[in-house]
Symmetry: C2
Subunit: 281 residues, 2 copies
């Protein structure tokens, strides 16, 4: 199978690396000629260049650009596609992408491989990045069974566990477990910086350890990714944040009123229920 | 040196294990005779029993009970102390303990070794638990230099890095970097459970991965510890939570109003400033 990949960063590049190793013919396209040379050297693709015409005759094309370039890229790509070519993406939001993308190219299926590291770019590519990672496929009523099967086959071949849902459910779910954590984690760091007594702030910096480190990790990550999540999943992120804010109000009131049994019940619930989110991970 | 330890759980027991290994004479006291037998078998103490009279003649006594038992324990302990005996504790809040404890026993110095695991009790004791862990010592104007030196010597001997501050600054700082993270992390789990569409909630549980896992870790921990933090450091926890809540309001307003440059600036700040809290850890 001939697979084109547009965007040779951490995700697109690592996918190319694994697909090439599995015997797929991979065509890698990047805006940056230097990235294309590196892609060839690293075994990310067998052909690589800046020109979409290289993608003629591909059975599948994966758009692995940042979210905001997915639709413009697809529009520019259409003249080079064969009628049978299936197109997918790797964007972390799906509702705003999938409907428009299918209007541009009916053989489009949304994908969201949930893999990554703290690094980015072609220099960060990793073998087996997708091994055991969930990959969400978000077909809708107009998606063909053949297109779904082809996209699933590709992600399975690099080790993903396939999960299927609608773009709407996907976006609501990632708001809860991925985008909300980034905001509340960032706000932890930001709030600590708000301590006006310098002695307290400096001492807090000195004694911060694993609890602070883990809770603040995603809030101290790549700012562009966080911004893209909030921008592109705005409605669901706001919904989650407002629910969070309401529940925090209740907690503050309970602590203020010495309602300790309520706080105890909350902490017992979260201790037990956290496990529901960690099974299979 | 003869050291008594009251409370042979994870902290008290692990301290006894390391002190015994370093050649200290350790007397372990627990309310539970079975714990005392285990303490002897595990090498946590060379003498162990339920009776405070065992602690006669100790140079130092460490009260390693849960916070709410520290002051009552000290009161019961006084008849068995020699005038030179230094007493310390391991409580995670200090302001409410130190002043009252010094009134009961003038040779009292507050300690807070910042070590632990997810486990508790004598069965959870670990060798080298305190190696490279910060230990905060919180003397005040009435504390004697000799008492401070003796407590520091003991924590240094098990590998702690000593930090010294006032009880007030300690409690404000731990509210920011330890107690606030527990509450906001627990509220993340609690908010996700609030999703009313079961399909979304179940799908969120399926795709939750490392970001959710890390951000929710301390909120899914021992409920008793979280409750004790909120109860015993109520004023500072509320202050941190309200600052957090105000900043979250601003974030929600900015996302709602498409003020993306504000969100970008926030995420850039948190990415850079998080490092200030992680140096030396």
């Amino acid at each position: 199978m001939r697979v084109g990949i547009i965007g040779l960063g951490l995700i697109g590049g690592s996918l190319g690396l694994d697909l090439t190793a599995k015997g797929y013919e991979v065509i890698g396209v990047s805006r940056n000629p230097e990235t294309c040379s590196k892609a060839l050297r690293k075994g990310v693709a067998s052909t690589s260049g800046v020109d979409f015409s290289l993608l003629k005759g591909c059975d599948m094309v994966v758009i692995a650009t940042p979210i905001e370039y997915i639709l413009p890229t697809l529009k520019n790509l259409v003249p080079y596609l064969s009628p049978h070519t299936v197109v997918t993406d790797v964007g972390s939001v799906k509702e705003s992408i999938v409907a428009s993308a299918q209007e541009i190219w009916s053989n489009f299926v949304g994908s969201h491989p949930m893999a990554g590291t703290a690094n980015s770019g072609i220099d960060a590519v990793e073998k087996d990045l997708f091994k055991d990672a969930p990959c969400v496929i978000t077909p809708n009523d107009n998606t063909s069974v053949r297109a779904i099967a082809l996209v699933e086959k590709m992600w399975l071949s690099v080790g993903c566990k396939i999960l299927t849902t609608t773009p709407t459910i996907h976006d609501q779910a990632v708001a809860w477990i991925s985008h909300l954590p980034v905001i509340i984690s960032a706000n932890l760091i930001y709030s600590c910086l708000g301590e006006k007594d310098e002695k307290v702030r400096i001492f807090a910096e000195k004694i911060a350890s694993s609890g602070f480190r883990d809770t603040s990790r995603v809030g101290g990550g790549n700012p562009e990714l966080g911004l893209m999540m909030a921008k592109n999943n705005q409605k669901n992120v706001l919904n989650s944040l407002k629910e969070y804010q309401n529940k925090l109000d209740t907690i503050i009131n309970n602590i203020e009123s010495n309602n300790w049994s309520e706080i105890e019940q909350l902490l017992k619930t979260t201790q037990t229920k956290r496990n529901d989110f960690l099974i299979d991970n």
